[in-house]
């Protein structure tokens, strides 16, 4: 999975097309590589991940800033590394 850096300094992880458990795993692994305060945007289109990704982010002590539907059944989850 490619983690891309956006012009505004945030990171982007595009997980469209992947299903459980990959969205949770890749999000977790990417967050571990970020520094505290950095922001990761995760793009998902797998409905169950809409629950499981935020739950695992919170369980690992990181912060879910925003969950936004950017088009039908595609969501961006913005996460701040703590």
């Amino acid at each position: 999975m490619d983690v891309k850096r956006l012009p505004n300094g945030e990171y982007l992880l595009d997980l469209k097309g992947t299903v459980c458990p990959y969205p949770v795993l890749y999000t977790k692994m990417t967050l571990e590589k970020l520094k505290a305060g950095e922001i990761l945007q995760v793009v998902i289109d797998n409905p169950p991940s809409l629950e499981t990704v935020p739950a695992s982010v919170k369980a690992s002590g990181n912060e879910v800033l925003e969950i936004r539907e950017i088009e039908p059944a595609v969501w961006i989850i913005r996460i701040r590394r703590r």
Binding site: L12, L15, G17, L25, Y26, I70, P72, V74
Partner: protein, 394 residues
């Protein structure tokens, strides 16, 4: 009337916005499973529907000597009708819930895994005499020991599948330090089939269901009402599974050390409640002679455990179980269609090639009361095991 609008919307949101709790879905599935059993005189199963479809495909190209010939048309095979219903039910629930979307595989590896998963699941079904329904959920409901044998295999296979996934992702993340310009419009991804497609799919599916029902009403089918209601049961199962995200794969994959461990525990509790409802109904149906006691009692031996292991590994590769691939396909996952297609082509051949038999064990053979006590004790042990794992982790 504003208050009616509010209450209606709240009810609608409860059903089609918020996911249903797993225990609620489990009880519903157990209940539907047993009513289905009473209606169809066979438990709700899945893979023999794929067998029916595959045999039709092979018959079209005169290859039915490798697959066997279909016993009934697609709309007159109980299992086939049941899973057609599951697909439509899940799809319609996904569309109403705004969760439908044509989703392309994210990588070539995913496509390879979908094919391999379909083949391994088919092989597992042959060895276990059923999938996660016919070999496990409905098998235990039918009071056959082969359900418990496959269950132990599913636990091992799910564990091995998780090992594989952790190994695979350990070297799969790549950080780019250079900056990329990504327009927000690009994040929607491949631009085929975006907005406005869900209503078209909805219309196609609704019309197809109406046409099938019309065929049952006016067509030349004997006992058409039987199949019409089976279709309805399938639709209900599909809605329940889609709305609760009742994923047997997550349940068995993440049970020991997975990232979705909590969800896996909740799913297992749902499965246990579903089995509790199922076996209770199973006793009633079989004791009263409503269905033959030995109905759906399949051979049991060590191969059932092996089949469970292979099946579980296959479903982890494919990302969904026998019912899960239908639900995911209904939601628009192209990968799930690939797995279904593989299973449809592989299963009839494997079934015909490995046509071994054995001795089944009907649990009430040890006496109805003893069998009942034993079954409830097994379910209780299953629950204790899940609660133990939950406690150990937290």
């Amino acid at each position: 009337m504003a208050s009616f609008k509010v209450t209606f919307k709240r009810f609608f949101d409860n059903i089609f916005r918020e996911p249903w709790p797993e225990y609620f879905a489990g009880i519903l599935l157990g209940f539907v499973n047993i009513v289905f059993y009473a209606w169809a005189l066979k438990p709700y199963t899945i893979f023999s529907g794929y067998q029916n479809w595959g045999q039709h495909i092979y018959s079209l190209i005169n290859l039915n000597w490798i697959s066997g010939s279909p016993l009934a048309s697609v709309l007159e095979d109980k299992t086939s009708v049941g899973i057609i219903g599951l697909f439509f039910g899940a799809s319609i629930a996904a569309i109403i819930s705004k969760e439908f979307r044509i989703r392309l595989p994210s990588s070539r590896i995913q496509v390879v895994e979908a094919v391999l998963g379909g083949i391994l699941m088919s092989l597992g079904v042959v060895l276990s005499f059923g999938c996660n329904w016919g070999g496990f959920f409905s098998a235990i409901t039918a009071l056959s020991l082969h359900g418990w044998a496959m269950f132990s295999g599913l636990l091992i296979g799910g564990y091995l599948g998780q090992k594989y996934i952790i190994w695979k992702v350990s070297f799969a993340t790549r950080m780019h330090e250079e900056t990329f310009k990504v327009k927000s419009s690009e994040l929607g991804g491949r631009h085929i089939l975006k907005r406005r497609l869900a209503p078209i799919f909805f219309a196609i599916e609704a019309i197809t269901i109406i046409l099938i029902m019309a065929y049952y009403s006016f067509g030349p089918i004997k006992d058409a009402g039987l199949y019409a209601v089976i279709l309805l049961f399938g639709i209900i199962v599909g809605i329940i599974i889609q709305r609760s995200r009742f994923c047997f794969t997550t349940a068995f994959r993440d049970l020991f050390f997975g990232p979705e461990f909590q969800r896996s525990i909740r799913l297992h509790k749902g499965i246990i409640l579903g089995l509790l409802a199922g076996v209770t109904g199973g006793f009633v149906l079989k004791y009263r002679g409503f269905v033959e006691p030995l109905n759906y009692v399949a051979p049991v031996s060590l191969t059932n455990i092996l089949g469970g292991i292979i099946f579980a590994f296959g479903m982890v590769l494919a990302g969904a179980c026998a019912s899960g691939i239908l639900w995911r396909a209904g939601e628009g996952h192209v990968n799930a269609f690939i797995t279904i297609f593989t299973a449809v082509l592989a299963y009839p051949i494997l079934r015909k090639s490995f046509n071994f038999t054995g001795i089944g064990f009907f649990i009430p053979n040890i006496g109805w009361t003893n069998g009942m006590i034993l079954t409830y004790m097994l379910l209780f042990l299953y629950l204790l095991f899940i609660l133990y794992l939950e406690g150990r982790k937290s």
